[in-house]
Symmetry: C2
Amino acid sequence: MNSLPSPSKSDAAFPFTVYEQQFKALADSQRLEILHHITAAGSVCVCDLTERMNLPQSKLSYHLKILLDASLIDREKHGTWNYYMLNDQALNHLLSEELCCLFRGK
Amino acid sequence: MNSLPSPSKSDAAFPFTVYEQQFKALADSQRLEILHHITAAGSVCVCDLTERMNLPQSKLSYHLKILLDASLIDREKHGTWNYYMLNDQALNHLLSEELCCLFRGK
DNA sequence: TTATTACATCAAAATAAATTGATATAATAA
DNA sequence: TTATTATATCAATTTATTTTGATGTAATAA
């Protein structure tokens, strides 16, 4: 489910690469808006987002892939549709409870 | 102390710009390493970091400015030295308690 | 005053990320 | 089978970020 290596705080030479990737994924207002939509809706397909955000499909697929690769969201295939939902575990590990309902679940 | 506007969760058109800036600041392994050093040391000057991280001074000033502009750290001038320290309030608002001691205080 | 230390800032070059429009694929419907 | 829908991916371009080396400045020391 989570393909990222799990970092250890005690490793002095820890290169922060996992956190770097996850913060990079969060470092874009369009992706934050995507996360916000997913947070509000529970799960969304690409077509939901193209309608709501008025962005081209290829752009959304690109940004969703970045969030997916960083394990901040998960994907489920149903027929022709791809549904995206929050990866609560990863988001709760990373973000404060005060960001609850903004771009992370409860 | 914190020059960033305070975002409101209830604003439907909220553009996430503050969070974008803060996550951008975190989205770089060198800056995470800087934060980690500051977390460990309490406060550091640029010369401490040039020694510990073996990076040119201008590069460190550049990255420190990005963290500073995002209000993730604060600066205090003492003579010729500039000391940098964590902005605990901003970091605690943003990051989970599990990241305590990695790049945020207690 | 001159020299030195600690640092910020600048402009140019290098690198990385985002955007666009096109094409490919897989599932379903006709 | 053919058409359609939903989506991923690709290559080219545009835009943003990072790096580098140089220069400027302010504080202190000689």
